[in-house]
């Protein structure tokens, strides 16, 4: 009977680690715990003499599934934000977000970016910036669901009211248009006053923005400069 | 001269794993060792490898002594140093150097920089050199 004690002790580890796994909130922590569960499960299977099952658990259950899940979690828990590439508009400044934000904390886009990162970080999401050559390409990327959100300056979005200039401090300088309802809910009220968040319904294109053809013809004088 | 050390290593692993010296098994082992792809990087010199093997054998008792020392006298201090890589080392030998440094429990290589330096992390007993990065000149083994 004494030799059964260690069997019971080892088998008890399996529900213990499984319980730890299902109570994890952060997906990356859950991945690590999944690895621990795989190691313990392989031990239990080997203990019961199932050498092949133990080997499969170690190879597939631990190694392959963790690697695949790590890549899946990494690429799905992410908000893709479309921004304009630096070549097209070098004066407006927002296009250099990708290059500038890491170094220059005093740049006007920095508080918006850090607020975005912070509020996304609560949901374990990451921010990825994708550059596009023109505002037209940006709008197209939003409607074809290439990106979740696009980042515009007021110059491109508030064409109808030319009197409002981005120079005034209180008015929003940047506009973030998102097509994902949940992202809108997450980010609502989290951004600094220089940025404005807008929900765009991807199915009806006559929402907040003008049709891209008109916008492009209007913009052409500024963007090409 | 087709990387016989490489073949030898594979055959050693094969025979240790299978523990079977029948002709069929030897044939399979040799065939697998030849069929696996080989890297075409710089050939290691046998003398260097023997030297490194000897160093590994020496490192094992040193590692145990260091472990016992760490157990009986606590080493609460953490220090980072930079150490220079010995000249004329192939990639495999650099790997073995890193292995030797990391194998001993008091030292861990943090990073191998391409310009020929290791970043080494130490635990120490004394309360001096408070966490700053020290430069070390000559090549030395811990």
């Amino acid at each position: 009977m004494t030799e059964d004690w260690y069997v019971v002790a080892i088998v008890a580890l399996l529900p213990l680690t499984a319980g730890m796994l299902v109570t994890q909130v952060n997906p990356y922590h859950a991945l690590v715990i999944r690895g621990i569960l795989g190691a313990v499960a392989a031990l239990v299977y080997a203990l019961f003499g199932a050498a092949d099952v133990a080997l499969t658990e170690a190879l597939v259950g631990t190694m392959l599934s963790i690697t695949l899940y790590a890549i899946a979690v990494r690429s799905s828990l992410m908000m893709r934000v479309g921004v304009l590439a630096p070549e097209t508009i070098s004066t407006s400044g927002e296009a250099e977000i990708v290059a500038v934000s890491e170094i220059d904390r005093s740049h006007p886009t920095a508080p918006v970016l850090s607020a975005l990162r912070q509020s996304l970080g609560k949901y374990h999401m990451r921010l990825e910036l994708v550059t596009y050559a023109s505002p037209l390409a940006l709008q197209a990327a939003l409607t074809t669901k290439d990106v979740h959100t696009i980042w515009l300056t007021s110059k491109e979005t508030l064409k109808s009211e030319p009197a409002e200039s981005p120079a005034s401090d209180s008015a929003p300088v940047y506009q973030l248009q998102t097509r994902v309802r949940r992202l809108y809910e997450i980010l609502q009220g989290q951004l600094p006053p220089t940025a404005e968040l807008v929900y765009v319904n991807p199915t009806d294109s006559s929402g907040l923005k003008k049709p891209p053809e008109m916008g492009m013809s209007d913009d052409s004088t500024e963007t090409s400069s | 001269m087709i990387g016989y050390l490489d073949l030898l290593l594979r055959l050693t692993i094969w025979f240790l794993l299978t523990a079977d010296l029948s002709p069929a098994n030897i044939f399979i082992g040799v065939a697998v060792a030849f069929l696996l792809p080989r890297s075409s990087t710089k050939r290691a010199v046998l003398k260097d490898w023997l030297h490194v093997l000897w160093e590994i054998l020496q490192a094992i008792p040193i590692a145990y002594l260091e472990a016992l020392e760490m157990i009986f006298r606590p080493h609460p201090q953490e220090v980072q140093t930079r150490e220079q890589v010995k000249p004329n080392r192939t990639l495999g030998l650099i790997f073995l150097d890193i292995f030797l440094i990391t194998f001993t429990p008091k030292t861990i290589v943090l990073k191998y920089q391409e310009d020929g330096w290791y970043k080494v992390h130490w635990v120490r007993r004394q309360r001096r050199g408070n966490g700053r990065v020290q430069e070390r000149g000559g090549p030395e083994t811990p």
């Binding site: 690590v32 190691a39 080997a46 190879l59 | -």
Partner: protein, 84 residues
Amino acid sequence: MMNAILITMILALLLPIYEAWQDDNIWQKMLAFASIATKTSILILVVAVLRDDWTIGVVGVLILSVGNAALMLLAHVLRRLNEL
């Protein structure tokens, strides 16, 4: 005697499991995972010797070398994650 050693080893295995549960830093969890991966495969080897069942022993040796590979891959993915 072997049973006593085995029970002590299981107790030692509980320490990193507790650590993985209570620490919120991802790298501390990874350390616990590394510790558990090694300890479980050594336990498999001990059980194999205890029962004199050598198929289990082969599995233990294979897991010893494979479990760590998964850890390294995961460590690199997590490192790339922190860079962004």
